[in-house]
Amino acid sequence: MFRRLNDIDRIFGTMDFFKNQMNRLFEDFESGRANFPQGGVWPPTNFYDDGDHILVYSQLPGVSEDEINIKLHNNLLTIKGERKENTPEGYAILRQERNVAPFSRSFTLPVEIDTEKTSASLKNGMLTVTLVKAQAAKPKKIVVQAA
């Protein structure tokens, strides 16, 4: 009985969530972020380009270093892993919202990467992958000469 009431509560919670999403739709659209993936896509990932590097930021709370598998093949970057089911023993579940499914995301990079110099770090549940662009893909300064 208790379980069922909990489910009903979750259904209403989901409806509330959609309502809030609808309310925020125009706000997001105006700020140019209407194409945020909604659900199903995990982890959320940002890409930044600072000229010499491509920086990839992923939110991976509760995932340890050895549970993350990053692969770079040609210009296909894959971030894979699994967040383990973490229900502590002897506890009943009152609410479960945190994602525990295995995850995998692949991205085609727009430039060639120097695979030797790639590095990644994990801090406070935030993954940062630093990809160094291949020499040919780095921006070059063109000097204007006086005629």
Partner: protein, 129 residues
């Protein structure tokens, strides 16, 4: 168990705060056993010092700030700096003094022990003759 169910009310009922910037609700798991309620919350990117947990009467407020330090120009953005905030109404009989919290890899583990008065106990039946 009815008192515990109260905790699972939608967080949206909590009053909004006036603050600039985006705010979001962290995902939580809530587990319960005879001794305590364990609350697990995802707060990716939040540093330990930017996290505040406040327990006043029976209102538990979890707040954390994530400031994204991204370098370069944005190519694709799926998350941004945000203020995490979530408020819970705790059931009666939580021993606020003994509450402990751990924070690892962007995940908060909050142990809320039940006070002795609400813990289940076995009642011994004494035999007559």
């Amino acid at each position: 168990m009815s008192t515990e169910r109260e905790m699972v009310k939608p967080a949206q009922q909590a009053a909004e705060v006036f603050k600039p910037g985006k705010s979001s609700t962290p995902d939580v798991d809530i587990f319960v056993n005879d001794d305590e309620i364990l609350l697990v919350a995802d707060l990716p990117g939040v540093a330990k010092d930017d996290l505040s947990i406040n327990l006043e009467n029976n209102i538990l407020t979890i707040e954390g700030t994530f400031t994204g330090k991204f370098t370069g120009t944005c190519q694709r953005q799926e998350f941004d700096s945000t203020d995490y905030r979530r408020v819970f109404t705790l059931p009666k009989g939580i021993d606020a003094e003994k509450t402990t919290a751990e924070f690892q890899q962007g995940v908060l583990y909050l142990h809320l022990p039940k006070s002795a008065a609400v813990k289940p106990c076995q009642i011994e039946v004494k035999g007559g003759y």
